[in-house]
């Protein structure tokens, strides 16, 4: 080898980096770090977002209950003694309230809990204002309970609940007009005696919303049902319409100005802000057609219009992914165009279409802005009945319920709003997981 004698080797050695090369390498490292930092910030934001919401929300699923034996006195609850529901319905919650109060005081006395620092009203207000109504409902549902002594589970008031969850402290209670430290001392004693306990609360998922003053009783039942109704409408309407539109545009339509217009149109509809759809729904469905406000049918229709572009775009992609050779094969044995599509192309594209539909539904489920405009922010305490009538009755929806709760002044509602978000995210996660599984299971590479 003669190259050892080449003079160029010393100053231009590959093995020794000169200053400029070192600077360039440093710039390279910096640039890489920027990228890593950007990704880290993005991921941290995700983690921060989820932990903040989840951390605030998990407590909403647990609730503090006051558990006392209540004797259901026939003389108070059913004076006639006939167990006639109509007559019993005349007994108002006030009478039930008195009954509970007596039971509570008696129980505290037997357990030897000192309530001398509290007024009668303060003792009673350890319990939710919902308690008498709860008991009344329980009794009306089962009149045979009258005369017996039952163990009555009542919600503790939200401040007591907050105290056991750490949200309320003695110090904050002293500045609070709704609770006093003395009440908390009694509550603490009751917990020691096993009268108060914090546990899992199904009624957060099943009960309807409750008024501003009783956050402990508020639940998501109506919201979940309303969202389910709307998703039903969206699915039933947007899937067939979306698939039909895609088939027409992708397979049948001539390429001309008119179809070009439709395509540009769909692309733009996908990017129209959701609030504009709300305005459309308000003007068209409610003011013009006279459909009822707050009804799932209106929400379902507006979400359908919003979801259509998503489904159309996904379906067209799925149709495009079916290779032309399949169509040619069908046409080649004498099938008509329509037959080749419905017999061969559509079944092959179905997994893709379903995946797109589920993702579209997930998007619709989380949408809230348009629903605000069609009156779904209303306070709804009654469950809508079964479809089809129920579709016309007032309901609310999960994301809107979250918004509504955040607008209330009692901080206990923030916990419930976060809890509702957890429910919403669980639904979304499930839907996305189903979509991913569908895609993995049926994905076909041509």
């Amino acid at each position: 080898m003669t190259d050892a004698s080449l003079p160029a080797a010393a100053p231009k050695s590959l093995l020794v980096a000169d200053g400029r090369t070192r600077r360039r390498k440093a710039a390279e490292t910096r640039f890489r770090l920027y990228g890593v930092a950007a990704i880290a910030i993005g991921l941290l934001a995700l983690v921060f977002l989820l932990t903040s919401v989840l951390g605030n929300g998990v407590n909403a699923f647990r609730q503090t209950f006051v558990e006392i034996p209540v004797t259901l006195d026939e003389a108070v609850l059913d004076k006639t003694g006939t167990r006639d529901p109509k007559a019993m319905a005349k007994v108002t919650t006030v009478s039930y309230g008195k009954l509970i109060q007596q039971a509570l005081e008696a129980e505290l006395a037997t357990r030897g809990i000192d309530t001398s620092a509290l007024t009668e009203k303060q003792v009673m207000s350890l319990m939710s204002k919902e308690a008498p109504a709860d008991l009344r409902r329980q009794v009306l549902a089962d009149p045979l309970l009258i005369g017996q002594t039952i163990t009555f589970d009542a919600f503790a008031t939200s401040r007591v609940d907050g105290y056991f969850k750490g949200r309320v402290t003695m110090e904050s209670a002293s500045r609070d007009s709704n609770i006093t430290p003395e009440q908390l001392v009694v509550a603490e004693a009751m917990a020691g005696a096993g009268l108060i306990e914090t546990r899992w609360n199904w009624r957060f998922l099943t009960a309807p919303d409750a008024s501003e003053l009783r956050p402990e009783a508020a639940g998501l039942g109506v919201a979940i049902l309303g969202s389910a109704y709307m998703m039903l409408i969206v699915l039933v309407l947007s899937l067939p319409i979306g698939v039909a539109t895609s088939i027409y545009l992708e397979e049948m339509a001539p390429k001309n100005r008119w179809t070009d217009l439709i395509e540009v149109n769909i692309a733009n509809l996908a990017a129209v802000p959701s609030i504009v759809y709300g305005i459309l729904a308000l003007a068209l469905f409610i003011n013009f057609m006279g459909l009822p406000q707050s009804a799932p049918i209106v929400g379902g229709l507006v979400l359908t219009l919003m979801t259509l572009p998503t489904i159309i775009i996904a379906t067209r992609a799925a149709l495009q992914a079916v290779p032309p050779s399949i169509r040619d094969a069908a046409l080649g044995v004498g099938a008509s165009k329509m037959q080749s599509i419905f017999h061969h192309v559509l079944p092959l594209a179905m997994p893709g279409i379903l995946t797109g539909t589920i993702l579209g539904l997930a998007r619709a489920l989380g949408e809230s802005a348009p629903l605000l405009l069609i009156g779904m922010v209303a306070f709804v305490k009654d469950f809508p009945s079964a479809p089809p009538e129920g579709l016309m009755q007032p309901a609310t929806a999960l994301p809107v319920q979250v918004y509504q709760w955040t607008q209330r002044s009692d901080p206990a509602f923030v916990e419930r709003a976060s809890g509702a978000i957890i429910v919403l995210l669980t639904f979304l996660l499930t839907m996305n997981a189903v979509a991913i599984i569908l895609r993995r299971r049926f994905e076909r590479r041509w």
Binding site: M1, T2, L6, A9, S13, L14, L15, R20, T21, K25
Partner: protein
């Protein structure tokens, strides 16, 4: 071989600029190049020929470590530039590529002006101190690439607006501007028409006085026209390597002969 013109070769004693010993390349499971030994001589045009997939482009890309950009590629063996192992851990491929430039199969001008295309290399390597020097480098490079007369009035026009042949000469000018010692050309004429091909070949012939040129080509005629030395690759093996005249007129290996006479490939 009757139609082939074989140029007269200057076979003066040239020193080896690059030496490759026992080079093996794997792409994942695929063993693409098997045990190749080649010396690239200074001031010569070396042609790599062989059928598609024989490993000639792969080997070319080893010479300036372009295979580093392919995640699955694994190179073993030893390649030295002026006696220094280019796969040494201390070697920055960036410095290596400044000295071993490359021109690609398809013309790939950057979406910038003609001037900026040529000035790109000098700028990133900091080869010039001021604008005047840069102008000078750009002009010289374009002149060497025989493009100056065609583009001198529109240096600020986008490089993508040139014709295919002009684009390829622009890419050659871009490579020359960094003042490399070895210039690798990966089928530089395969996307060009015959006239543009002739221009590029003429250019290669002029360039080899200043650089070592290594050219991968599919066309045996082209190899015969422009190169002094030829290496024939087949199925990842280097079959034969020697003087171009000898390879084309008197191949030692039967496979080389079959390829040259058109029986395999």
């Amino acid at each position: 071989m009757n139609v082939m013109q074989i140029a007269e070769r200057a076979t003066a004693t040239a020193t080896a600029k690059m030496t490759a010993r026992g080079v093996q390349v794997h792409y994942g499971e695929n063993h693409a190049l098997k045990d190749v030994d080649v010396d690239i001589l200074a001031g010569t045009v070396t042609a790599f020929i062989g059928p598609s997939g024989c490993g000639k482009s792969t080997f070319l890309r080893c010479l300036n470590r372009m295979n580093d950009t392919v995640a699955s590629a694994r190179v073993t063996g030893e390649i030295r530039l002026d006696g220094e192992d280019i796969y040494d851990r201390r070697v920055d491929p960036v410095t290596l590529r400044a000295r071993v430039g490359m021109v690609f199969q398809k013309p790939n001008p950057f979406p910038k002006s003609i001037y900026e295309n040529v000035a790109y290399g000098p700028r990133i390597h900091g080869l010039t101190r001021n604008r005047a020097e840069l102008d000078q480098v750009v002009e010289t490079s374009l002149r060497k690439a025989a493009l100056w007369n065609e583009v001198k009035d529109r240096l600020q026009a986008p490089g993508t607006g040139l014709s295919g042949g002009q684009q390829q000469r622009l890419c050659i000018a871009r490579a020359i501007a960094t003042a490399p010692e070895v210039l690798l050309m990966d089928e530089p004429c395969s996307a060009l028409d015959p006239i543009a091909t002739a221009q590029v070949e003429e250019l290669i012939d002029e360039l080899h006085t200043q650089f070592s040129v290594v050219i991968v080509t599919h066309s045996m005629q082209q190899a015969a026209r422009v190169s002094q030395r030829t290496a024939f690759f087949h199925l990842g093996h280097l079959v034969e390597y020697g003087e171009t005249g000898q390879i084309f007129t008197n191949p030692r290996d039967p496979r080389t002969e079959s390829y040259i006479t058109g029986r395999i490939g």
